[in-house]
């Protein structure tokens, strides 16, 4: 049982955002700044790890027909925990992320990993898979938000990087998010095409 490849595949080869194009709603909505993106990535990773572990543990006990609702309840439980923790310790982040924290429940990455991986794998493998996917998701989110924050406000993590630059406000708005993700997906396709 090799665990390292299971971890690494989520970061590059099967990156949930750029390769699988999953879980894009929060990616676009909260990527206005790197800070929000990291918060979102942390919350999503927490939910991924928690739900993948539990799903892997209960996989034998769950009847096949109602497995999806069961998985969703498991996921929703972890989302609620994440929500409450965030509300208690970082209310500002909670306000910035808004409804998108609750919406981790319906994030295709989380349900997708539970269904496609954890529901028929061992606990350690599921744990590592979730960690890899979570890190990959967070990295992708950070990358997109870095581009948007840099172009949209000339800053990174709140520090001004490009002093003389007139920020293109559009990048911080919804059309900018769609444009950046479209451009990045195209760019990665191009790289993939070159390598093959």
């Amino acid at each position: 049982m090799k665990l390292l490849p299971e971890f690494l595949k989520g970061i590059i080869k099967q990156n949930p955002i750029f390769v699988l194009a999953l879980g894009l709603c929060p990616v676009l909505a909260v990527s206005t700044s790197v800070k929000n993106a990291l918060g979102m990535g942390a919350a999503a990773t927490f939910v991924l790890v928690g739900s993948n572990c539990i799903v892997s543990l209960i996989k034998k006990a769950v009847p096949d027909k109602i497995r999806i609702p069961c998985f969703i309840i498991v996921i929703a439980t972890f989302v609620t925990i994440a929500e409450l923790v965030m509300k208690a310790y970082s209310p500002a982040l909670n306000r910035a992320l808004g409804i998108y924290v609750s919406l981790i429940v319906v994030n295709c990455v989380v349900l997708g990993r539970a269904e496609a991986f954890a529901s028929h794998r061992t606990l350690p493998a599921s744990l590592v898979d979730a960690l890899g996917m979570g890190v990959g998701f967070t990295l992708g989110l950070a990358l997109i938000s870095a581009v948007r924050e840099l172009l949209g406000s000339g800053q990174l993590l709140g520090y001004t990087i490009l002093p003389g630059f007139q920020p293109a406000l559009m990048m911080a708005l919804p059309p900018g998010a769609l444009l950046v993700i479209g451009g990045m997906l195209g760019f990665f396709n191009l790289l993939k095409g070159r390598r093959e």
């Binding site: 293109a168 406000l169 059309p175 444009l179």
Partner: protein, 315 residues
């Protein structure tokens, strides 16, 4: 003459027209309005036009080289895009803005869709909306005509902010003696070019007439002091409406193909323009109205296309 653009199944008649001819023809028709813009706003306007056109041509060349496609600078489409973008900018913008805008227009508005004839949105308008969303402060600071660079409002923005508008006579509006974007102010120049386009058969009446008619009616009905009291002529002569209706809404690639579809499209443009002007947050809605209808245009085409010869009734 007017029937040249009707889309039908074969047999067809050759009409001695080519993309390049039409593109350069439209550019030629835009000349009087541009000349008036330079006369009114000074050399700054000329610099904006030059930068936009040069950047558009450079981007087109670069992208076609990079994607190893045939370089088609001479078909005039990139030139026209740059020209139209410049016409939609205020004369006082810093010169990097037309350059960035032209790059956006050609790269994101056109080449990413596969180049000329494949784009969904009018590239110049997409770029204008991009500049408006990105650097609104520059895009809304207009200068009064004359070489002294006095800050001024456009008639529409003055109206939106609630100032009186006695300063503008219809003649002023018609000739272009008002604040605004470089190419939109001189209505008489634009109309002269439009007449040329009609005579050449480059555009048909469907889109401009349905567009202007709808906007005019709505402005007349929803006037400032109750129903049917609007000053429709003032609204028709203000802002980018004439430029939009004759030169940008009629873009072949991004408007519907059939006459019926064009009437729907023009009416939609008119409706959206008036709604944005009357109740929206922006003083002028032409650009957004045309962009929105560009998005609707494949849908209109889908439901107005003619039946194929020899097949049954239209679905």
């Amino acid at each position: 003459m007017g029937n040249k653009l009707i889309v039908t199944a074969a047999p067809h008649m050759h009409a001695h027209q080519s993309t390049a001819r039409i593109m350069w023809g439209v550019s030629l028709a835009l000349l009087p309005a541009g000349a008036a813009g330079v006369y009114l706003f000074g050399y700054a306007a000329l610099a904006v036009i030059g930068t936009a056109v040069a950047a558009a041509l450079a981007t087109e060349w670069l992208l076609q080289k990079m994607t190893r496609r045939q370089v088609t600078l001479l078909d005039g489409s990139a030139f026209l895009t740059g020209l139209l973008l410049a016409y939609n900018l205020p004369s006082g913008v810093p010169l990097w803005m037309p350059a960035v805008g032209s790059f956006f227009a050609i790269a994101v508005g056109k080449q990413i869709f596969g180049g000329l004839g494949q784009n969904i949105f009018n590239p110049a308008l997409a770029a204008r909306a991009f500049l408006m969303a990105s650097w609104p402060a520059y895009m809304t600071s207009f200068r009064a005509p004359g070489f002294d660079a006095v800050a001024s409002a456009t008639p529409l923005s003055a109206l939106k902010e609630g100032h009186l508008r006695q300063v503008y006579s219809y003649l002023d509006l018609f000739l272009g003696n008002k604040g605004g974007c470089i190419g939109e102010v001189c209505v008489v120049g634009l109309l002269a070019g439009a007449v040329f386009l009609f005579l050449k058969g480059y555009i048909t009446w469907h889109i401009p007439v349905s567009y202007l008619f709808t906007t005019g009616i709505l402005h007349y009905v929803f006037g400032p002091s109750g129903l049917f009291s609007g000053d429709w002529l003032f609204y028709l002569l203000s802002g980018g409406l004439v430029l939009g209706a004759f030169y940008m809404a009629t873009d072949y690639v991004t408007s519907p193909l059939t006459a019926q579809g064009q009437l729907i499209y023009g009416t939609g443009c008119g409706l959206l323009t008036a709604v944005i002007r009357l109740w929206g947050g922006y003083p002028e809605g032409t650009c957004y109205a045309i962009l929105m209808m560009n998005a609707v245009s494949p849908f209109i085409d889908r439901y107005t296309r003619g039946r194929i010869y020899g097949t049954g009734k239209m679905r």
